[in-house]
Symmetry: C2
Subunit: 191 residues, 2 copies
């Protein structure tokens, strides 16, 4: 068991049955982004986890071992980058629930950041995986906020995703091919 | 006269001042990006340093102390974000030399990444400070590559920056106001 900075429990991949493949959404997105990069399609990266380094030990000239450091709460979403001249920015979350997504899964900073992205003309979205259902959705930030800003509820029902999100099918190489959905968005924007 | 927390004297003036503050380029850029953020101008962040975490100690439910970790070589530039619908991406470097900038100051990954940014329609650039000269330059990636790709030299002479870069004056709040230069770029792009 690993504890995340906010104290929430995080079960290691091996102890969870992540449906058919046993891969986490993060791993699938890493593979997808690697595919985009290697095929000269887009440059989208996961930001490193912010860590405050307190102490470093120098064993030799070339190696530095960090001996004391702490996780920080991220100020932004985890992923951003560029595709077809557009700024893309998103957060990815996974839930084991089959019925809803708790809104507290997002850090307030992340939501504030996504609102900025929208305001400045970028394409902001979230990728949500219902791991027990084997379903992954892309939801644009504007839709997410129109829900959040008009409810007192603390979660989003699964059904809402069927109506307001786009299901991203699993593929062999581009495991979570979200740019396929972004292409549709850009096409609509042109028209 | 105002004294900064670090005891350095700070001359209060709203006009342009090229004098050195004794602050690092990174600190100045952090302040500048904070200003852009707080004034709802742009969302540009320094990416956290990538660190491989090997061991974590749990003192309580909410605190996790990293006891073994190592620095990684970054895959991308340090800064990216969004401004006026545009994807911005840059690397910032400081040199004590008064005559040239060694090209090895850039990681090969960072240069590859900047080429991608250009190719995908983003605005890629570098911010170079000659700290002993109190001068900070913005150089677009296209100009940097036209130099690199046509030379066998291992450094760029200082004079080259005077001809191919834009000097960014030091300001009180927006210490390295690089978006002022980006505005000119966007204006030219429109015409």
């Amino acid at each position: 068991m690993i504890n995340y900075p906010n104290g929430k429990k995080f079960q290691s991949d091996k102890s969870i049955n992540y449906a058919r493949r046993g891969m986490s959404l993060e791993e699938d997105l890493n593979d997808t982004n690697k595919y985009y990069l290697e095929n000269d399609i887009a440059a989208i990266y996961k930001k490193p986890t912010p860590i405050t380094v307190v102490n470093v030990e120098y064993k030799s000239r070339s190696t530095a071992k960090i001996t004391e450091a702490y996780f920080q709460v991220p100020s932004t979403t985890d992923y951003n980058g560029i595709y077809k001249g557009k700024y893309l920015d998103f957060e990815a979350k996974e839930t084991k629930s089959k019925t809803s997504l708790v809104l507290s899964i997002f850090h307030p900073h992340q939501l504030t950041h996504l609102r900025r992205v929208e305001r400045y003309g970028g394409i902001g979205f979230v990728i949500i995986r219902f791991s027990e259902l084997d379903q992954t959705f892309l939801v644009y930030a504007s839709k997410l906020f129109s829900y959040i800003d008009n409810t007192a509820k603390k979660s989003i029902p699964y059904k809402w995703f069927l109506e307001n999100g786009t299901m991203i099918p699993y593929r062999y190489q581009k495991k979570v091919d979200y740019l396929n959905e972004i292409d549709k968005y850009l096409l609509e924007e042109k028209q």
